[in-house]
Symmetry: C2
Subunit: 420 residues, 2 copies
């Protein structure tokens, strides 16, 4: 369905009426100028009390999907299988779709791209990545693949809140997590966030729009923050760093793309250092614009509703993602052929396969925590997981993901194993 | 002319081949995927040597404007009268136009909006404001008027470079300016920048897309940085601030819009504090997204070319500014009915009309410089210019432009003149 001119009203079928859905409802009700009306809301539990007229609600998904009057489906459910059904059905029925679902997009993007092409209907999902920060649209519009050096982001507010509290209040991971849950910045079941899955899902989406790479989240090197120790924060601070969970996609000097979500020491050289608490931030380096930085709230009802609104507004002029970078022949493949400059933090040497290092530069043992710094090949991390088990954690040094790939690799080859 | 589908080639007539024009030429030549070709370049001086085939160039503007094959005019001249002629003629001839000209847009926006509507042709000018930072498009797309609290930006790289050097290297204004000129961050004739005109022009443009206000730059309260003294930097630092030239547009609690470009003490509460040297930064507060921040290079060949490129790319899907906030009946008028919390810095009391203060809180005299802090009504600044003459300067306190308007005003009414 084509929603051509500015005069056309968007008639919305909304799935989900949680924090984001209710915020969206409230905003649309108060700003008639948006010319968008929610006709029906599909919910799971009919008996909950809600801040909207009862007649608006139904538990019958088909009442929305089969209503020819509804030209836009807004999908805000929390279940990615349900979301997949809603989105793919709506696209097939020629309805435009806006969603905030990260995992459903990360999981099914190739299928959704095909459906959009086949049925000529747009699917927009700005809210799925960093909520209020318009990063997907900017990557889609502003950076040609050839010119984009890297995208580095703090894309998960829960883990950033926890890391900020660990650094500033010297809390343990567990205490900081509990505080984040109490403050509403972490879910009751925080595992998707703290294990890095949510950030990796977002990176999967960013990779498509940044580099035309279609990849499964499971193919990425990623980890979370569960094994970071308060001694690591201290160690970072002594070196002038803070630890952040950073999602990174970048171009190696030979043009191949590397992508990973790993804890990272962030220093003054990066604007990510100033991204604190529940905020998100994305730093983009390109040959034209040089370094750019986007900052804002990456979660929550209104910030997410704000991104959904902007997608609704874009539908008015028939905006759709062009996936330009995907259309140029072969999709971009990711490489694991690079060296990382890392710090491994651990309690017991039993759990550390230090022979996998190409080079070890520093070995610091203090109280009950040890830190080994050195160079390791990314493929070693792909083929094993000792580095994210048994209380062992890995933290990247900043030079590893800035400009030092080649140099690092060369040095490592020369010195390989010489210091181990 | 409508440039409908992705396959259509953009055939460009380019005016101007300075740093930005040459950068654009280079990028287009190296990225065929953009599917945009420069057919002809109109220049002023035929005899200069240029890094492109001679056959590309002409000094005859009509050769471009009358070429039916050319569907896009890119306007990068430095003369705003010439630019006005090119843009208005091209729009009348049904050609899409992309420009980087700030002053031509600030001066003629109402006319250009009418021409776009009359001839159904788009005019895009993302490069005219903060170059590589996509602030116009984001204001246009992401924030409904009702929901946007404020836009605060460092939008001029020259003055920001000078202020950074004054603060960090304790240089005088004159020395910092000379250094900026040597480093290529200030023009040989820097007056438009250092007098605040350039920033005010950008604010004029932002006001249209942020609030649907059409105003002349001359109607804004603005000043530059020429009279800032090294003692002011010191005074700022003692209070934990840095001085920045900030362009601000914000909504008062009663819904009216205030806008001004003034030097401001910026503290830890604002991300603008970290915007250094030639960089630009824009902070946006809205009820939905809360606080967002955009950061990047605001001038220079490639950053500006990057914004021009993104406009070219947007033309492919027939993107045009909708000026939504203007279309809702009455255009928004600006108000000067508010109080400012300011510091006046001066050498001689002769030049200071301190009786215009509603309240004076602090009076510090040190060496050869005095600082009076207090509250003054904006209308006093509009109706006089003692505060920006004779080595006197005015610096806003941050609370004045954050949330304190009403409170400040009330206090001032209560205490009016009581301390003077």
């Amino acid at each position: 369905m084509s929603i051509h001119n500015n005069g056309t009203e968007l008639t919305i079928g909304l799935f989900g009426f949680g924090v984001v859905g209710a915020s969206l409802y409230q905003v649309l009700a108060h700003t008639p100028s948006l010319n968008a009306r929610i006709k029906k809301v599909c919910i799971k539990h009919a008996d909950k009390e809600r801040a909207a007229p009862a007649a608006l609600f139904t538990t019958d998904a088909d009442a929305l999907l089969n209503d020819a009057d509804i030209n836009v489906i807004v999908e805000l459910t929390s279940d990615s299988d349900v979301a997949h059904h809603i989105i793919s059905t709506a696209l097939r029925k020629g309805k435009a779709v806006v969603t905030a679902g990260k995992s459903v997009i990360a999981k099914h993007l190739p299928e959704f791209i095909a459906l959009q092409q086949q049925y000529g209907t747009p699917l927009l999902y700005e809210a799925a990545c960093c909520a209020s920060i318009p990063v997907i649209r900017n990557l889609e519009e502003y950076y040609d693949n050839d010119l984009l050096h890297s995208v580095s982001g703090i894309v998960n507010g829960s883990t950033n809140y926890i890391l900020t509290r660990m650094a500033e209040a010297k809390l343990s991971f567990g205490d900081a997590l509990a505080e984040a849950q109490q403050a509403g910045f972490a879910e009751a079941d925080p595992s998707l966030d703290i294990l890095g899955v949510d950030a990796a899902n977002k990176l999967t989406i960013l990779l498509t729009h940044a580099y035309g790479a279609l990849t499964a989240t499971s193919q990425l090197v990623y980890t979370g923050i569960t094994d970071l120790h308060e001694a690591d924060s201290l160690y970072a601070r002594e070196k002038g760093y803070e630890i952040k969970l950073v999602a990174h996609a970048g171009k190696l000097p030979d043009g191949r793309i590397a992508a990973f979500v790993l804890p990272q020491f962030v220093g003054e050289g990066s604007r990510l250092k100033g991204v604190k608490n529940e905020y998100n931030g994305v730093e983009i380096e390109s040959s034209l614009a040089d370094r750019q930085f986007f900052y804002g709230k990456g979660a929550g009802g209104f910030p997410t509703a704000s991104a959904v609104l902007s997608d609704l507004s874009a539908l008015r002029y028939n905006y759709r993602y062009e996936y330009k970078k995907l259309q140029r022949g072969e999709p971009t493949a990711l490489t694991h052929d690079l060296y990382f400059h890392v710090c491994i933090s651990f309690r017991s040497l039993l759990h550390v396969r230090h022979e996998q290092f190409a080079r070890i530069d520093e070995w610091v043992s203090k109280d009950q925590r040890c830190h080994i710094s050195g160079i390791i090949h990314c493929s070693k991390l792909v083929s094993s997981d000792w580095w994210k088990q048994n209380g062992t954690s890995l933290i990247l040094y900043p030079q590893a993901i800035q400009h030092g790939f080649v140099e690092t690799a060369k040095k490592a080859e020369i010195n390989e194993l010489s210091l181990v």
